[in-house]
Symmetry: C2
Subunit: 460 residues, 2 copies
């Protein structure tokens, strides 16, 4: 597709072995974790240094070649689906942890560092990097920043954006833009780092990222509360927050999810329960003890039929493994798993869950709902088969209606999965035509040829 001369230029920058043109390679980068049709790119390029990265970007811009940066491709919104005539720009070889500064509580990393490996390395320095997206075992930090990845600890610790102190990135011409700082406070210039977060690669290509670290909590306590009525479970969530307890994690699983998880893990989940809350508090040992006691009491008052606290690390791990099994367990049930991300102010969780179940019933769909109840971020997961076009039409109608309800409850389309290609068409409903025009004006200003991950978020 590209001229031999052009391919030679790519090879001159990154080396022959890092220009991937084989059919199998191209196929491998044609899709991500979203339920969307694959698009096979012209080739994939894998720079191994900052310098090479900048040069690849410049070469693409000079030749009008669309580029899609990609870490591990775990995003759920099509953020890394490439263009047919474009390249996939792999960041996986840019995987150095450049600095972990325990005195000043920050780290500097390249975008291809794997999240879990980074978190482990930070822990070895006696510190804590809280963001824990579901895919952290394989996801890259560059991808986390590009998608503003969330996770289970969002309620207390926030999401990726809350840990980004600075981003140095290549503009479309391959020049280095510097934003943010290694300091806690920085107001030098426009907040370009924050604009890069959640920008899904449409505004620049990350070179180095400065991430905030925090001291780890001294203690934690995980609990499971079992309910025979999902309303009682969701009202418990509101009662915990009203008591001024901010758990680090506060998750909900509905009956359908519980059954699939038990079938998958045989972990001994109560399959007749209508809902389970998994709750963890952390912090100073005295605070943890006190808050755990209060949580148990709130759960019981709200009508939990059973409340169990993990007695040791093994029991705690078992609870969280069950939670992390929710998506893979549901995904086994049918050929297609449409994982949604509707998010509402947490007090609206009871209303949102009721609405999801009504919509599922109306469209004769099986939906398992689980998610981060504490921050209002639910993952209604529709189990279906995309090849059954009539069923899939009903799925699309259901998704539409789920979004409508979320917005009517003052919520948002996407809590943590991004807009990508999958949700771009709904964006105006939540914002306004002027909002999209404003975003498009910014995009066009910094990428006049439109080569940076085209089509994501704002279309075009």
């Amino acid at each position: 597709m590209f001229s031999n001369a052009l391919i030679k230029e790519f090879k001159a920058i990154v080396g022959k072995q890092n220009v991937l043109q084989k059919e199998a390679d191209r196929q491998a980068y044609a899709y991500d974790a979203a339920v969307l049709d694959p698009v096979v790119p012209a080739m994939a390029v894998c720079p191994t240094t900052s310098e090479e990265l900048g040069k690849v970007v410049r070469l693409c811009n000079e030749n009008g070649i669309p580029l899609t940066p990609r870490g591990s491709g775990t995003n759920l919104s099509g953020g890394t689906i490439p263009e047919k005539k474009g390249i996939v720009l792999l960041t996986n070889a840019l995987n150095k942890i450049i600095e972990i500064n325990a005195q000043d509580l920050y780290a500097v990393i390249q975008p291809g560092v794997v999240t879990a490996q980074f978190a482990a390395e930070v822990a070895r320095h006696g510190l804590f990097y809280p963001p824990d997206p579901g895919s952290m075992a394989v996801s890259t930090l560059g991808g986390n920043v590009a998608e503003n990845a969330g996770g289970l600890r969002g309620l207390k610790y926030g999401v990726t954006k809350d840990y980004v102190m600075g981003v140095d990135f290549f503009d479309v011409t391959g020049e280095l833009v510097k934003s943010g700082s290694r300091t806690v406070k920085c107001v030098t210039g426009l907040n370009l780092s924050a604009l890069q977060v959640a920008s899904e690669g449409i505004l620049g290509v990350f070179n180095e990222i400065v991430l905030k670290l925090v001291p780890p909590p001294a203690a934690n306590k995980a609990m499971m509360a079992v309910f025979d009525d999902i309303d009682k479970a969701s009202e418990t969530v509101a009662a915990i927050i009203a008591a001024h307890i901010v758990p680090c994690t506060l998750e909900i699983l509905d009956n359908s999810t519980i059954k699939y998880v038990e079938d998958y893990t045989r972990a001994g989940m109560p399959v007749t329960a209508q809902a389970i809350l998994l709750i963890e508090v952390d912090g100073h040992p005295a605070q943890v003890a006190e808050e755990a006691e209060k949580v148990v009491s709130i759960c019981k008052t709200a009508g939990a039929v059973d409340v169990q606290a993990a007695r040791d690390e093994a029991e705690r791990n078992k609870l969280w493994e069950a939670r992390r099994a929710a998506l893979p367990a549901l995904a086994r049930a049918r050929p297609t798993t449409v994982l949604e991300d509707a998010t509402v102010p947490r007090s609206q969780i009871p209303a949102m869950i009721r609405a999801i179940n009504e919509i599922a019933k109306k469209h004769r769909l099986e939906v398992g709902t689980f998610g981060h109840a504490g921050d209002g971020n639910l993952h209604p997961t529709i189990l279906c088969d995309k090849r059954d076009t009539r069923e899939f039409e009903r799925v699309e109608q259901a998704v539409d209606e789920i979004f409508d309800v979320a917005l009517s409850l003052k919520g948002t389309l996407s809590g943590e999965h991004g807009i990508g290609l999958a949700k771009a068409k709904w964006l105006e409903k939540e914002t306004s035509a002027a909002t999209i025009a404003y975003a498009r004006a910014l995009k066009t200003a910094v990428d006049p040829k439109g080569i940076l991950n085209p089509g994501k978020i704002i279309g075009g």
Copy 2:
């Protein structure tokens, strides 16, 4: 300066009484808290509703009239110095607290709400809004967001940007752009809210802001540690952080500042001390007790000659009043007070303080240094007389050198005071030509006529 027809149009939008054309009014809005020459605007306009605000912006754009949004004008970088042929857009009448949602831990406000009044109202709802810039008694939240205001609690609680969940703003044509959400997590569209934070009014005019609230800490403990050597004080800061204690406030005052504060307040400060640290820990009572004990022990080990803990709220207030008196006390000494904002990674505080003192000596200037040692944000304050041109040249050289040292220590030009007009010329030194070009491209894209607070941050 404006035609009668145009003035009539402004009056038709906001009412006659809200178009301020008198000389005294115009003079009142010619300056802010920065040491810069005043610029008298053509007039000031004071909309009282969102609708009026949007219409004023549109009218300005249609007629190419520069507009400078202004709350209380307390910023220290010239961010609200208007254009001679422009208007000042007063936000003070847009001062409604639209919603405080205790269940979902957020508030929705208009930009003209005064920070301290908002914090007090939030406290009445049993919640906590942590950002506490020095000027909070009069500053507006719109101004805080535009400048990304910091304060004394930055170390543990972050700064204004960490509390902005959403910003609805008027684009230059007067259309409403919506960004962010009332939910903890939101990745719907580009993060335009975060871009508005610290943008000093050059990218849009705020309409409504959604702010995050948190439960208040259950207990706190304030302490004062006295040192006969400033190096020991700054090393104590590093030792506290290394012990994984994150105080909510960790302030330093040098000898010069202590003397001026004592002269001003007669609070009984130890005037022979070379440095004082003011430290407050907060959180669960057991944690506070334990951390306070550790802090006392760390201070003593590091060589503090005296450590006192506030025994009650009155003693605690006395400590913080002394700290808050630092700037007014220094400002009494000489006609001009050049308050700087150099910020370094906290481990570099000893080096930064030594450098400031050397620079002061070299240029024969009196400098009092105080600030947020815990987050590396120092306020070296040069006491001088701007009318003494030879002295002021030395001041400018000293400021240059202070910035050079901060950057060489991997710090930043401005921790919390903004760039405005005052520091625009240093911006490229910290970032790069490409960074400024990128920011200018964004600005031009959303404000083609350049009417939104011209000249701030990126010049032009």
